[in-house]
Amino acid sequence: MSELEGQGALPLPAEGPPVVPAAAVPPRRQRGGPVLSALLPGLPQVLAGRWGAGGTALGVWAGLLWTAAEGWERVVRSPWAGTDDRVALATLVVGLLGAWLWSMEDVRRPVDVTFVGIGQWALAARAFSRNRLAVAGAMAILAFYLVALLTPFLAPYDPAAQGDLITERLVGPLAAHPLGTDHFARDVLSRLLYGARVSLSIGFIAVGISVTIGTLLGAVSGFLGGAWDSVVMRFVDMVISFPRLVLLITIIALFEPSIFLIITVLGLTQWPGTTRIVRGEVLSLREREFIQAARAMGFSRGRIVLRHLVPNTLAPVIVAATLGIGNTIVLEAGLSFLGLGVQPPTASWGTMVADGRNHLIDAWWVATFPGLAIVLTVLSFNLVGDGLRDALDPRLRT
């Protein structure tokens, strides 16, 4: 019966009494309970030992409040200042509310049964939450995206604003410029923050595109089999064999570099990997009873693919997607480094490293900090991807 749960083939029975695995966390003490939670959401959970969830809530609460305090004038002006600022304001409000509400709700629950059940996703979630590094990575990713959304309030300077070209060029890390200035007397920290928006969004969208295409194509190809399958797989082999970077450079350099082109090309060169994975999964799932039952029941092929096959292939796809985002961020940085990425003065981590290359010996900070940002971001995605893979792995070995 367990295999059928969560797969949409048959209606789910109502969940019975929660089955708590033997290795459950012992019931925790709530110190101060709701009052403490109202003031500092997340703190009671941290004190009870659930540093992952609690730490996130507390961090979000404290961080957002600090941001609001630091950038008070900008927050106040934001509803009139433009889309970016409005989005930042929305993030601020939603974040604060979300952290507060979650903590209040969580404190009220008597027993720690956050992930109930023995379904595929519940088991995976529990395994994931036990993996410290993975949880740290997830918190980091959340932090990065929050920071990226809140950049209009956080960035001390306008990323394109040039200071005095004579005196403020290539100044090292100081209080006024925590990460120094570049050769245009622009603040490195602000550019770093705005560059984060570029990298994080390009990574996400490009992988989104590739995963969608790859999953659908792989599922259809694996399900239909035959000549169609061979053709698709030949094509996949071709694209995979090709050194991706060479293809990217060729296309982007020969046509004009623009964010749109970059996202498109990145997305359109990554799907073969996902296709292979999904096709492999579908090939093994195809012969299983529940699929045969669905076919016997007369479901259309499209419905079988979309509602029965694809959801079951999601596990490895999610892992591949997470790792893929990290990979894409590195690639985008590389393309920007070669001058084929986003156009100046839009800051991108890759262009910043390229800018810093010319002044490496007398201004190491211009190239170093963007690179560190890339490493930390990709590291977080890799940690989460690894954690997901480990958590979902036993589920794959059916």
Binding site: L165, I166, A253, L254, E256, G339, Q343, P344
Partner: protein, 587 residues
């Protein structure tokens, strides 16, 4: 119209073409006859050289000897074939190292004899026949004499459309083809032309090529012929030894170089070394692995000046940087707006910041060394944001909606883009600085990077002209001709980027081409420069100084507007400062 511009050499000088190589003396590639060509040619050079060295005794002067290594980031792509190559470094090596031109220029930029001993025209006021009398003691490195037939051959090729000689515009006022040349005798040759200004200038850079080696090559195949990059046989002060692709060119002294021109050069060997990374070039210079560093980066200058062994040469050069405005766009149609842009940009500060002060603000395409340069215009259009605002107000551009950007009466905002090509830091810097500074006078500028070839396509295609402003660099010759840029007849030709239609400028451009007498031309040049300033088709930025770093042990190195290699045959190194004997010997 006879035009003698060099192309925008800056990007081409910067494109590093790399592949490491093994010895490439033998012709590589298809066709055994091609391989044979190089083998036989070089063998003949070897034998002639050894005969000559055996015959002449080494001069007593202790200045003879030594090797000089010149380092640069650019490869000499087309090699020594003067008929097909067009880049600056190639031209310098052809004119001064391996081959010869008919005339040279002295320090005052007046013609002096070189391969041609003397010359005359039939009528100084209306020249129609130009006759050169060649030296009779110049030998090709394989033993053949250089004579009038080589000149005639060169003439026929450079005026033949199939050759695709890059500077074909040199010959606009000449009678092209075989009808334009007459070999009077072995060392006398006449060329026919229509009277025009600076008619000798073309002969300063057109190298004479060997008819006995290249005569049978079809003109359309000249560019691919191995002569240029694998076995050039010249008649200049240095003999080709080897070319390691993307690594080095090696030359040795020519013992047969005419005594009348100074005889054998002092140096035993000259190596042109390609190092695509400027940090390494500087390091090599400071550790004395290389003797000359061509065009260091401006921010490396400090380290060069600190070093006791190396000196910095800086001189105004022939290139300039500008932003070209597309007048066809409504925001840029009014000359007042263009002048406002120019006075709204602090060009002097840009020279300080980007070039470390090594440059001069430019106000037209006439360079400071040009005999007709108008000194009185030097401080015009200085940075004055208030003046910019006044000009814009006058032109009807006012910020009507309080968003910081001006609009005209129809509500069109004063926004435009400035395009520049990838890989050029300086142009990117200019575009970004302009964006910041012009924002303060109410203009919104969007810098846009475009890949070089695509950019050229966008700006050169007459039906497209897909740009508002574009940052470009230029190399002029000693003869300035802006007709292609500003003449209304050329509006459908590639280079009329600005879209200028000014009858006074047209008239001046037409006249300046034809006036032979400099005294008569001078007031016209003055007027022309003044008109350009008024019209501001471009915002001219600066004439950057050319920077070179030279190790002090190499003596008598002359570098100026004429080039860096102009007197390489006179360079020498004192015996005690030469590289160890292991360098001087061996191939």
């Amino acid at each position: 119209m006879n035009s003698s511009f060099r192309r925008a050499a800056a990007p081409l000088l910067v494109i590093p073409l790399v592949a490491c190589g093994g010895e490439d003396r033998e012709a590589g590639g298809a066709g055994s006859d091609v391989a044979d060509f190089c083998r036989t040619a070089l063998a003949r050079v070897d034998s002639f050289m050894s005969t000559r060295e055996g015959e002449t005794t080494a001069p007593e002067d202790e200045r003879y000897g030594g090797t000089v290594v010149v380092g640069s980031i650019g490869e000499i792509a087309d090699g020594m074939n003067g008929l097909v190559s067009s880049d600056y470094t190639a031209s310098q090596h052809q004119s001064f190292v391996n081959l010869m031109t008919l005339i040279g220029y002295d320090e005052d930029y007046l013609p002096i004899p070189y391969l041609a001993e003397s010359w005359e025209v039939d009528d100084p006021d209306r020249p129609t026949v130009l006759t050169f009398h060649l030296r009779d003691d110049v030998y090709w490195h394989d033993g053949e004499k250089t004579d009038a037939y080589d000149v005639a051959f060169t003439w026929e090729r450079v005026t033949d459309p199939e050759t695709a000689f890059p500077n074909a515009a040199f010959w606009d006022f000449y009678v092209k083809g075989p009808e334009g040349v007459e070999v009077v005798d072995s060392f006398t040759v006449s060329i026919r032309l229509e009277p025009h200004a600076e008619y000798l200038d073309a002969w300063r850079t057109t190298t004479i090529m060997p008819e006995h080696l290249l005569g049978d090559v079809p003109p359309s195949e000249l560019k691919q012929h191995p002569y240029g990059t694998q076995c050039p046989v010249g008649n200049g002060p240095f003999v080709f030894v080897s070319h390691r692709p993307q690594e080095s060119w090696t030359f040795r002294a020519n013992p047969a170089f005419p005594e009348g021109l100074g005889g054998r050069p002092y140096l035993d060997r000259y190596v042109y070394r390609i190092i695509p990374e400027q940090t390494t070039l500087l390091a090599d210079l400071l550790t004395e692995s290389i003797d000359v560093y061509i065009v260091p980066r401006p921010d490396q200058v400090e380290q060069i000046e600190r070093s006791p062994d190396v000196e910095l040469r800086h001189f105004l050069f022939r290139n300039y940087v500008f932003v070209g405005w597309n007048q066809r766009k409504p925001q840029l149609a009014d000359a007042r707006v263009r002048r406002a842009i120019t006075v709204g940009t602090n060009r002097q500060q840009i020279v300080e910041a980007l070039l470390q002060g090594h440059g001069r603000v430019a106000n037209s395409g006439v360079p400071p060394f040009h005999w007709a340069f108008n000194e009185t215009l030097v401080d015009s259009l200085a940075y004055d944001p208030d003046e910019a605002r006044r000009l814009l107000d006058d032109a009807g551009w006012i910020d009507r909606n309080g968003d910081g950007v001006r609009e005209n009466a129809d509500g069109l905002p004063l926004e435009f883009s400035i395009k520049y090509n990838t890989g050029n830091q300086q142009r990117q810097d200019i575009a970004e600085i302009m964006q910041a500074q012009l924002a303060q006078v109410g203009m919104r500028v969007q810098p846009q990077v475009v890949e070089w070839s695509t950019l050229l396509d966008q700006i050169n295609t007459p039906s497209r002209r897909d740009f508002d402003g574009v940052v470009m660099g230029w190399v002029t010759e000693f003869k300035v001709d802006d007709a292609d840029l500003f003449h209304s007849d050329r509006l459908d030709a590639p280079y009329q980027w600005a879209g200028t239609e000014n009858p006074r400028i047209d008239r001046l451009l037409d006249t300046l081409q034809l006036v032979v007498d400099r005294d008569k031309a001078l007031p016209l040049w003055r007027e022309y420069q003044r008109l350009i300033m008024e019209e501001q088709p471009y915002t001219y930025f600066f004439f950057p100084e050319r920077l070179d770093a030279v190790n002090k042990r190499v003596r008598d190195v002359q570098m100026d507007v004429r080039g860096e290699w102009i007197n390489i045959k006179d360079w020498w190194i004192p015996a005690e400062e030469r590289r160890g004997s292991r360098r001087a010997s061996g191939r």
